[in-house]
């Protein structure tokens, strides 16, 4: 258990399931279709093989996830990643936070924002726009959701359009979903020998 990671990092860890994933050679045709396994694509992560236990959910969730995070228009991809990161920090999904902090840094070609967030959490020194985005997503992720009219006003005052705010609501909420799978069904583990 000493391999389990408990601190936020941008180095994407491994993921060790707490349940036994579906075995690829025992997968049903429905599972193979949802896993998008083809003769030329036989590499499937333990995470996706775990989710294949509920194949009806997996089949609809993957395209929904991609639409919320990557469809063109609206909020920039980097800012959607910031919404995802805020939720993942609230829910302490170390794995999700690493993936989406890393993507934010790559998209921005700058680690300043994610360095600040991992060092100082909600007290990070951010631009007014990033501050409004992070605070809205962070409060939305609380249980029960705690974002209020002042947080919405802050987004509008920071210059976000309705289309951008809608994408932020969706990306932050999506990680309310993703965190409850990844953080609940497995552990983030150090990669390397024995991984």
């Amino acid at each position: 258990m000493s391999r389990v990671i408990h601190k936020f990092t941008r180095n994407v860890p491994g993921w060790q399931p707490r349940v036994t994933p579906v075995k690829l050679d025992e997968a049903t045709p429905e599972q193979l279709a949802a896993l998008q396994v083809t003769p030329s694509n036989t590499k499937v992560s333990d995470y996706v093989l775990t989710l294949a236990h509920d194949v009806e959910s997996l089949a609809v969730r993957s395209p929904l996830f991609n639409a919320i995070m990557y469809d063109p228009g609206g909020m920039s991809r980097a800012e959607r990643e910031l919404g995802a990161l805020a939720a993942s920090m609230v829910n302490r999904c170390i794995y999700c936070a690493a993936v989406h902090a890393d993507r934010h840094a790559q998209l921005e070609k700058d680690t300043t924002v994610t360095d600040e967030l991992f060092a100082k959490g909600e007290n990070a020194d951010l631009t007014a726009r990033d501050r409004a985005i992070f605070d809205f997503a962070r409060k939305s992720a609380e249980a029960p959701p705690a974002a209020g009219p002042a947080d919405m006003d802050a987004l509008r005052n920071a210059g976000l359009s309705d289309e951008e705010i809608l994408d932020l609501i969706l990306s932050a909420a999506l990680f309310g979903w993703a965190n409850r799978l990844m953080h609940v069904l497995g552990d983030p583990v150090r990669k390397g020998n024995g991984a």
Partner: protein, 158 residues
């Protein structure tokens, strides 16, 4: 079902006449896929250990916890004789381990640990059913937050 009949848009009070109708219509694919996801977790063909009535009750319970009472009522109508479990204070001796797990992943997500999963397994819940339960609660966590966010956008929160 039209876009504005999807659960998320109808429970957030959006109509085709709303100021936000254009913005939400531009993401129609997302709201339609969200509705398909609701179908997959509430009314799947393969229910595993959790029938549609129990799933509806658990969904209503999570929605109540999140303060989304209209959404909770929407689900509770399909809960049949499991409807009492929609009350966040309700307990059922035979389902105690399920209710405890649902409440924790919905509301204390950050505190979930390996023992919560091994506890369910020790109580006889299969790995596939653990995943099914997580997907149900995790989807609800998403759905209540989109509804709350859209209501805030319209200035009708609270």
């Amino acid at each position: 079902m039209t876009l504005f009949d999807t659960t998320i848009l109808s429970k957030s009070g959006l109509t085709p006449d709303s100021r936000l109708a254009a913005a939400t219509s531009s993401r129609a694919n997302i709201f339609n896929m969200s509705q398909a996801a609701e179908q997959a977790v509430l009314r799947p063909e393969d229910c595993g250990a959790f029938g549609h009535d129990l799933r509806a009750a658990l969904a209503a319970r999570v929605a109540h916890h999140a303060g989304e009472h209209a959404l909770a009522d929407h689900y509770a109508t399909a809960a049949g004789d499991k409807a009492a479990l929609a009350d966040p204070g309700a307990y059922d001796a035979g389902l105690g381990h399920v209710l405890t797990f649902v409440d924790k992943i919905a509301n204390q997500t950050r505190d979930v640990a390996a023992e919560d999963i091994s506890g369910l397994q020790a109580a006889g819940v299969s790995d596939a059913d653990v995943v099914r339960l997580c997907e149900l609660v995790a989807f609800l966590a998403y759905q209540v937050r989109v509804i709350a966010g859209l209501r805030l956008m319209q200035g009708t929160a609270g």
